[in-house]
Subunit: 224 residues, 2 copies
Amino acid sequence: MKLELQIKMNPSLYLRDPEQSELGKNIIKHSIQLIHDNGFEAFTFKKLAESIGTTEAGVYRYFENKHKLLIYIISWYWGWIQFQLNYQTNNIKDPFIKLKRVIKLLSTNVEDDITTGHVDEAQLHQILISEGSKAYLTNHVEEDNKQQLFKPYKDLCNAVGEIILECNPKYKYPHSLASTIIEMAHLQNFFMNHLPSLTDFSKSKNENDIIKYLEDLVFNTIRI
Amino acid sequence: MKLELQIKMNPSLYLRDPEQSELGKNIIKHSIQLIHDNGFEAFTFKKLAESIGTTEAGVYRYFENKHKLLIYIISWYWGWIQFQLNYQTNNIKDPFIKLKRVIKLLSTNVEDDITTGHVDEAQLHQILISEGSKAYLTNHVEEDNKQQLFKPYKDLCNAVGEIILECNPKYKYPHSLASTIIEMAHLQNFFMNHLPSLTDFSKSKNENDIIKYLEDLVFNTIRI
DNA sequence: TTTCAAATAATAGTATTACTATCATAAATA
DNA sequence: TATTTATGATAGTAATACTATTATTTGAAA
């Protein structure tokens, strides 16, 4: 029996569920490829349609606009990370070890997960690093938020916050520290590769150094 | 005698120096206003020209495109912050107090500085919060970086890194911690106001809580 | 005071983007 | 077999991100 991981998405993100058709899956697959290769600004529905072999109108039947599609794939990524987090920290009792796992999970460039046919997680991780914050840095954040479009991100942040509180129940800023870990795991990676003098990893360019930095930051902060 | 603060800008950012003419100053002034009010995505040279009372072509004589203009005003902001930093930490010997000043300076919504006629620093601070990272989150970061367009940001990061090292000469990640402070001072503010459940300041919505969070984070991390 | 260069204004035009609309056809389903 | 449903093909629009041209104004040097 073949196991397939399905991540439930907020229907407000799409007009027609892309998981339910070949065309839909192709839209997701090629979007990830194109955004990864050329960045979100250069990404258009016309180029996407050409790359799939369909028409612009065909894509518009699935997604209202490219911003919704971006939030879709980003939400998918956070849902997948949440699943990995639950899976990897299952049966671990020590919250400090759990938190280490979280930091590693967020900082490591994952390999493509074969249980998710049309999604390349490695490319998605790169997209999150370069484009992730563009999902919410808009002047319509609040409306998007009201429609719960950022729920997977907030759920993850809450879950990480819970682990932080397990480490130190008296720590006063679990959510802020969680969002700091999540954002910095990505941003320090971006800086390391593109603006290295903003980091201390310019020589190694090694993810493990980011992990060490974040562990040092987090565990010194929450130690009792 | 009237003192006017002039910040020297990288000439690669503009085609004609906006400081040298009334039209140029108006371009800066109205850009800040418009980007502040409607966000960078909605900002166009046509709207800008209309708001000034000139033509689109007039704006294009000063700036190659709106992205360069964004980097211009952001660089201006970092230059101004650097000046404030030097000014405010001048004569302070204790590096811990210096670092506190830095955190406060970065986290506080400044008031308009009257020594800079056509620039509204309060609006600029808001722009940095919502649009700051869009300056470098592009697929042409590296070319932009080669042209030194991010120098003011990197200089500031270095200066903060120096203060961190004064506090603890053995701390291993001064640049990464500096960029974390700078970015988080802005991002936690954005989250606090737009996605509050990602922070622990949703009730107060008070900048001072961000300052406390960052101080706690930083001083626990660098203490010997 | 004239003259000459530089800055600006006015206008037009192009390719691309971000959509919306319509109609025909193919595939799935009742 | 009839009929819904998804897709394909094509067209069209308003806005964006520019470039180009020419005329007019301004201000500084000769």
